[in-house]
């Protein structure tokens, strides 16, 4: 490479580098460094090395400086579980709908896609409070169901895990739908016909052709839903009554009322590592399933 070429390459890559640096590496680096420092008494950090933040989570705490509490791992795993459940339900709900929409006439499809993105125009908090009003015992859902005579006693959904799942699925549905739709929409319909033509029952066609062919959309949707779902704590707070602690709450609490920034950073690093691990395993499996011969 000549000097000139090197300069050109440098100039070409500069925007990318700056972008990644500003929006990704610097914040991540800050959290990584903070997670290994001593907590300041009034928040912030003291600049001395301190590994107990991780010890407290994973079990090498000495019991004096810091105490090991398995509860943190439990909370992390529960967050992963909730996120996984959200992904699964979103996928099951979106898949057939995406198929249906992909088959619509262009103008109806545009309308539907517009409707799907409509919730983004309102604030998340406002939408969740709307759900609170819907689900509460004297809320619209119960009023309607009781009015129709479907139930005689109000359904006690608010502040239960059902409400949390409902809320999570609600807010993440569009994130699943859009990549899934993009993938299904570009699926060559003649492949489905070919499969049926060759004698495959609809279920076989779904499993052997349609699912493998839409793996990219499933993976993209899954990732886009899973990552923010792991850190979400607003839904468990607003609709779940904050009775179960989620990773997001735990981290927020460390940066606010508990004033332990390094521990919050360590928790954030661990959850990031876990998410990354899950995603790697997941996408590897998916790739292999999609690419099986």
């Amino acid at each position: 490479m000549t000097h000139r070429q090197r300069v050109q390459l440098f100039l070409l890559l500069t925007p990318v580098t700056v972008f990644l640096g500003v929006f990704f590496l610097i914040p991540l680096g800050t959290i990584a460094v903070y997670s290994l420092l001593t907590p300041g008494l009034y928040g912030g950090v003291e600049w001395s090395f301190y590994h107990w933040n991780y010890g407290r989570i994973f079990g090498w705490a000495d019991g004096i400086t810091e105490v090991f509490e398995p509860v943190y791992l439990h909370i992390l795993l529960r967050s992963l579980g909730l996120a996984a459940a959200t992904v699964a339900i979103c996928l099951v709900l979106c898949y057939p709908v995406a198929f249906w929409v992909a088959g619509l006439a262009p103008r109806w499809r545009m309308l539907f896609l517009f409707l799907i993105t409509l919730p983004f125009f309102a604030s998340l908090i406002v939408r969740l409070y709307a759900w609170l009003l819907l689900l509460k015992p004297s809320g619209l859902l119960n009023t309607v169901l009781m009015g129709l005579g479907v139930i005689t006693e109000p359904l006690d959904i608010l502040y239960t895990p059902v409400a949390v799942i409902l809320g999570m699925v609600y807010i993440f549905l569009p994130f699943m739908f859009l990549p899934l739709f993009a993938s299904i929409d570009t699926l060559d319909r003649s492949l489905i016909e070919a499969s049926g033509d060759l004698g495959a029952r609809p279920v076989q066609t779904l499993l052997k052709v349609v699912l493998p062919m839409t793996v990219p959309g499933i993976v993209a949707g899954g990732v886009i839903v899973f990552i923010p779902a792991v850190g979400n704590f607003i839904v468990p707070d607003v609709l779940g009554g904050a009775k179960g602690l989620m990773t997001g709450n735990l981290i927020e609490q460390q940066f606010l009322s508990s004033r332990n920034w390094p521990f919050g950073s360590a928790l954030a690093m661990v959850i990031m590592a876990l998410v990354l691990g899950v995603l790697l395993v997941f996408s590897n499996r998916a790739r292999r399933a999609g690419g099986r011969t």
């Binding site: 033509d197 004698g199 066609t205 999609g290």
Partner: protein
Amino acid sequence: MPGPLLEIRAARRSFTTPEGRDFAALDGIDLRVEDGEFVTLLGPSGCGKTTLLRAIAGFEQIDDGVIRLDGADIGPLPPHRRPVNTVFQSYALFPHMSVARNVGYALEVRGVARKSREAAVTEALAKVGLAQFGARRPAQLSGGQRQRVALARAIVAQPRLLLLDEPLSALDRNLRQQMQIELKDLQNRLGIAFVFVTHDQEEALTMSDRIVVMRAGRIEQAGPPREIFRAPKSRFVAEFIGETNLLPAVVRATVGGMAELSLEGGQVLHARADSLRPGAKVVAVLRPTDLAPAEQGLAGIVRRVIYLGADLHLRVEPEGGGGEIGVILRDAGRVPAQGERIVLGYDPARVHVMEAGA
């Protein structure tokens, strides 16, 4: 005598266009295909040939009529329960599977054991000359190779009937001609009946046992290639199958199986034809290749000469008037000059006469 392999009676299918108009893609189709027969559905786009093929495969339901295969009504059956396989225009190979798995797919979904599946796949691939390509992905093959994989995939389960939807249209001219021959050979060897859809008359003439010319949802004419070419029943068929001269005429007299026709410009044309009523208005069909300079025949002035290598195309204005006549000379000893008078001879047996207005 056993019935036909495929029998379609009074099949109708209409669609509603986006503008809300009803449009009959199939407007009363009657068709029989015998075992081992190569039948081509030929027609311009929108004539209903693809809809008919898809109705046989089960991708489209007919609104009215019957489709029988080996005597059994298959109309209500979904595609996967019809013993019929399709070669798609786009090939529709599964891109996420190897060539071998593509070919073995029909056996895989039927639960055929791996061993016998592999044997059948090897055999099918050998039949299309791709024995070494089983491990590749469709994306790693050329267009012609994909075409053969699609064929192998469609025949591996030994269907009673193979449907081919313009399978050669994506290939270049040379490859297409080669594949036409290979396809016909393969069909002969397999003994499976083929229903082949195309809009290319040359393809239809080359391969078919029988050609079914379709127009606007109806069958215009069905018969062996030679009959379709030589004795079109209508102006549409005549014009669709190859270049042709359509000469309006009036029957003057018929003598012993020979008719004397008077053309618009007053010249006389002889045709071998029975049962023509004197005074009837007819159209004489005369292929450009059936005309050649001679002592006797139709006289005219050469208006244009187009040299095309092997062929020489002439446009001749008949004496006394009438539309120009196209002539194709295969082996022109002497090239006629523009403006020169020429007399075009013909064999009356090769003049086909059909009723005017057909």
